[in-house]
């Protein structure tokens, strides 16, 4: 599978910077700071599925507090005013934004699903038959945030056998 070539971690990192610059840190005061710690914990996550020329998921995972702060930034409210619905909505949109841009870098013919949100950590149990192939890991105002790509095994095997 060629996704490692099509979408590298520098590209993901650049997208993350652009999301922060656009919505989460327009003043450039509280940037996403990379830690490269792929084992950092998360409490909530969202994902979009991509199918077609590459099959897998783009996963946005973070702590509940980071999700609250993100929702607060989008909705122009205080973090403690954010409801669970707000939180889901913003997490979903963040996965959608990064996922759509990832899809545009893949060979033509990929499709993007609507986002799914789980108020629980991401895990292989939630994405059976997938493998995390890369991601961007860091902190935002001290809270963990990650964006990672999970590739479906079935497709990988099929590609390798060609």
């Amino acid at each position: 599978m060629s996704v490692e070539v099509e979408v590298n971690e520098d590209d993901l990192a650049e997208m993350v910077d652009q999301v922060w610059e656009s919505y989460l840190d327009p003043e450039g005061i509280n940037p996403f700071i990379p830690t490269y710690d792929e084992n950092q914990p998360s409490e909530v996550h969202s994902s979009v599925s991509i199918s077609g020329s590459w099959t897998g998921h783009l996963v946005y995972a973070c702590s509940t507090l980071a999700a609250r702060r993100a929702a607060a930034a989008f909705l122009a409210m205080e973090p403690d005013e954010v409801s669970e619905d707000d939180l889901s909505d913003v997490l979903g949109e963040l996965a959608n934004i990064v996922g759509g841009n990832v899809k545009a870098m893949l060979p033509p013919g990929a499709l993007l699903s609507l986002p799914q949100v789980a108020l629980a950590p991401e895990s292989t149990a939630r994405y059976p038959n997938t493998e995390r192939i890369g991601g961007v890991y860091g902190v935002w105002e001290g809270e963990p945030v990650s964006i990672s790509m999970w590739q479906s095994r079935a497709v990988k095997n099929e590609e390798e056998s060609k």
Binding site: S22, Y23, D85, E93, I97, G100, K103, A104, P108
Partner: protein, 128 residues
């Protein structure tokens, strides 16, 4: 002036509403293309501008644009896609269907205002 903001994410609708409200638009919201079409039927005056997400449940943004373009009553509405779909071929499709402009997510507030200025919907230099 009136604007319609169509996106299934409430958070994204909020961001877009904040921007157009700053530019003195009255904004109404819809969560998908179908809801937006229903709302247009009820509105006494056609909005000047619609900001339209692509991927939405029930009716997507491209279908919405196609519907609007087929309705002579809605001819004056300026249609701007605001979406994460960013392949060149998708932009071409949206323009062919009748969208006037295209903004790729993520966008900064300044970039959105510049796009609306291109369409003559903002006095030049309002963002500077």
């Amino acid at each position: 002036m009136r604007a319609m903001v169509i996106d299934d994410s409430r958070a994204m609708r909020m961001i877009l509403k904040r921007i157009v409200t700053k530019l003195n638009f009255d904004a109404v919201e819809a969560g998908d293309g179908k809801e937006a079409l229903d709302l247009l039927l009820e509105m006494p005056e056609v909005p000047d501008l619609a900001l339209i997400d692509w991927n939405m449940p029930n009716m997507n943004g491209l279908e919405f644009v196609t519907h609007v373009r087929a309705d002579p009553r809605l001819r004056e509405m300026t249609l701007v896609m605001v979406t994460t779909e960013s392949e060149q071929s998708q932009i071409v499709r949206a323009l062919a269907a009748g969208a006037h402009e295209y903004v790729i997510k993520p966008f900064t507030e300044g970039a959105m205002i510049e796009k609306l200025a291109l369409l003559g919907l903002v006095p030049t230099g309002a963002n500077s």
